[in-house]
């Protein structure tokens, strides 16, 4: 159990780790949503709450400490007994309407560990600064998701040969009817991927309200924007969905980053964000920790990618000139994060700067410099933490 003090300390260190900010408002206070322990409050309405660093230490992020991210402020508490999932669309051979018990009983269950990371995670660390929710490191978490394969549900409805995208809608909505509802699509091949799930459990418990109860989409390896919460409607369509949240939001300059290409939504100028880039997070030591000379500093953290799998994590204490391999922890599955650990000698007095970089099986490694993009996505640059050896 984390005390409030632990959370505050961890939060403070997360805010100071790595980079110095030129102009800074006061750090966000901790706030509590119903059913959650204190999280870093970025906004109350719509609720945007970040997981404190200390809560990113366990292999699975606890449900009541998992980050919360909404775009629109009308968030009904869905009654699981009356909830129904509507499946249809112009490329569906028949329409389905499934209750939660029908969804649970009609298809094989699958459990899969996966990182859910907001596209804008670390936006608050961007230099130069960009507008948006000023997330630190905690708009992410790793959980064991249990549900059914989206593929099985789509095949029950029948997928016509002209299917191009699958479109998802959730129960939450905007205050004003003039605001575009949050609707997202994914390519048909991703929808039919065996890892794409409709989940109703998180870490062995029913999904928390603030994380999408009673059922949500899980798109392992892709950023959280596609992981539709409070899922109510799934449509198989022969055309590219042209809503605001696909055509105008969550986009990157075309060709700037690695990752799956979402062809039906790509223009010469911009393309939807897709894969999570290879990344890592130092969970210990905390910035500013003091250690005695002649002892060791236990470096620990997490590394993750788009599901290719983390093959190597390295640390440097000499300004990134030489690197040593950290030991990798248990493999929880290719879409989960991988723990790393490395004892580092605190041999000489003074400041010890530790840098960490992760390598993915897909051949990428974390870069030293930020690739700027206007929405502040994909900050996966090498992070450092500084401790004082006395």
């Amino acid at each position: 159990m984390l005390s409030r003090r632990d959370l505050l300390l961890a939060t403070a260190s997360a805010w100071t780790a790595g980079r110095v900010w030129a102009i800074e408002p006061a750090p966000d206070p901790l706030g509590t949503l119903s059913g959650k322990r204190p999280l870093v409050q970025h906004a109350l309405r719509p609720p945007n709450f970040e997981t404190p660093l200390a809560a990113l230490v366990p292999a699975y992020t606890p449900n009541d400490l998992f980050f919360v991210r909404y775009h629109l402020a009308v968030i009904p508490e869905v009654d699981p007994s009356s909830w129904r999932l509507q499946v249809g669309g112009a490329s569906a051979q028949r329409a389905l309407s499934l209750s939660l018990s029908e969804l649970r009983s009609s298809f094989p269950h699958v459990s899969l560990a996966a990182v859910n990371q907001c596209s804008g995670n670390r936006r608050g660390l961007f230099l130069p600064r960009v507008p948006g929710v000023q997330w630190g490191n905690g708009a992410m978490g790793n959980a064991l998701w249990t549900g059914v394969r989206l593929r099985d549900v789509l095949q029950r409805a029948g997928v016509a040969s002209d299917a191009l995208e699958v479109v998802f809608r959730g129960a939450d909505s905007a205050v004003l009817p003039s605001t575009p509802d949050f609707v997202k699509s994914i390519p048909i091949d991703r929808a039919l991927d065996e890892s794409t799930l409709i989940a109703f459990e998180m870490n062995g418990r029913p999904l928390p309200h603030w994380n999408g109860a009673p059922a949500r989409l899980i798109v392992p390896g892709w950023t959280g924007t596609y992981w539709m919460k409070h899922l109510t409607q799934v449509r198989i369509e022969p055309k590219a969905f042209d809503g605001f949240w696909m055509k105008a939001a969550y986009r990157l300059p075309t060709g700037l980053f690695d990752g799956s290409r979402f062809a039906s939504q790509t223009t010469p100028e911009t393309t939807p964000i897709t894969d999570i880039l290879v990344n890592s997070l130092i969970t210990a030591p905390l910035a500013g920790t003091r250690v005695r000379r002649g002892t060791h500093v236990e470096l620990t953290g997490k590394a993750w990618d788009n599901g290719a799998g983390i093959v190597r994590v390295e640390a440097s204490t000499d300004g990134r000139r030489s690197w040593r391999d950290a030991a990798l922890g248990k493999d929880l599955g290719r879409f989960a994060w991988r723990e790393f650990r490395l004892p580092l000698a605190a041999a000489t007095s003074g400041t010890l700067e530790i840098a960490v970089r992760a390598h993915s099986r897909n051949g990428t490694l974390q870069p030293d410099t930020l690739t700027f993009n206007p929405s502040g996505y994909h900050d996966n640059i090498v992070q450092t933490v500084t401790v004082e050896v006395t």
């Binding site: 900010w21 030129a22 102009i23 800074e24 408002p25 966000d28 206070p29 706030g31 509590t32 949503l33 119903s34 959650k36 204190p38 409050q41 970025h42 906004a43 109350l44 309405r45 719509p46 609720p47 709450f49 402020a73 009308v74 968030i75 009904p76 508490e77 130069p128 600064r129 960009v130 507008p131 948006g132 929710v133 000023q134 905007a174 205050v175 004003l176 009817p177 003039s178 605001t179 575009p180 309200h209 603030w210 605001f244 105008a248």
Partner: protein, 137 residues
């Protein structure tokens, strides 16, 4: 449209009658129609008056803590922005914002998200935000 609702006796009455708090669990209960407006109204009154609204529940609950800086256009800014979102976004985004960026944001809120802000109100909101919340060189 929005302004007349703020003044509506029905909204005021609803705000008083409902046990509306600024707590997260209120958000969970599906705020639709009048309750949304009443909630916004109450938050708006709280911010303008600088009144702290205590949550009657024993558990600590998330609260809207933001009070915007004094200045010409503040009340209008609060009343327009808080229809759809709480106010933390304004100071937290300030380091990324200047007059041009606020202008773009106000345009986006009006054109993309359908915020009911007239041209004249948009200019006043822009002046207020550019004057008080510009941290970008």
């Amino acid at each position: 449209m929005t302004r007349s609702l703020w003044r509506s006796p029905r909204v005021r009455a609803a705000a008083v009658r409902s046990r509306i708090t600024l707590a997260g669990d209120t958000l969970a209960r599906g705020m639709l129609g009048w309750s949304v407006l009443a909630w916004s109204m109450l938050a708006w009154v709280a911010v303008l008056g600088g009144v702290a609204i205590a949550d009657p529940q024993p558990q600590a609950q998330a609260q809207e803590l933001t009070q915007l800086a004094e200045g010409s256009g503040r009340d209008l800014t609060v009343s327009r922005c808080i229809v759809c979102h709480s106010l933390e976004y304004i100071p937290s985004n300030a380091p990324a914002m200047n007059r041009a960026a606020w202008g773009k944001t106000i345009q986006k809120m009006r054109d993309r998200f359908g915020a009911p802000i007239t041209d004249d109100e948009g200019r006043q909101v822009l002046d207020y935000l550019a004057t008080n919340y510009s941290g970008k060189p």
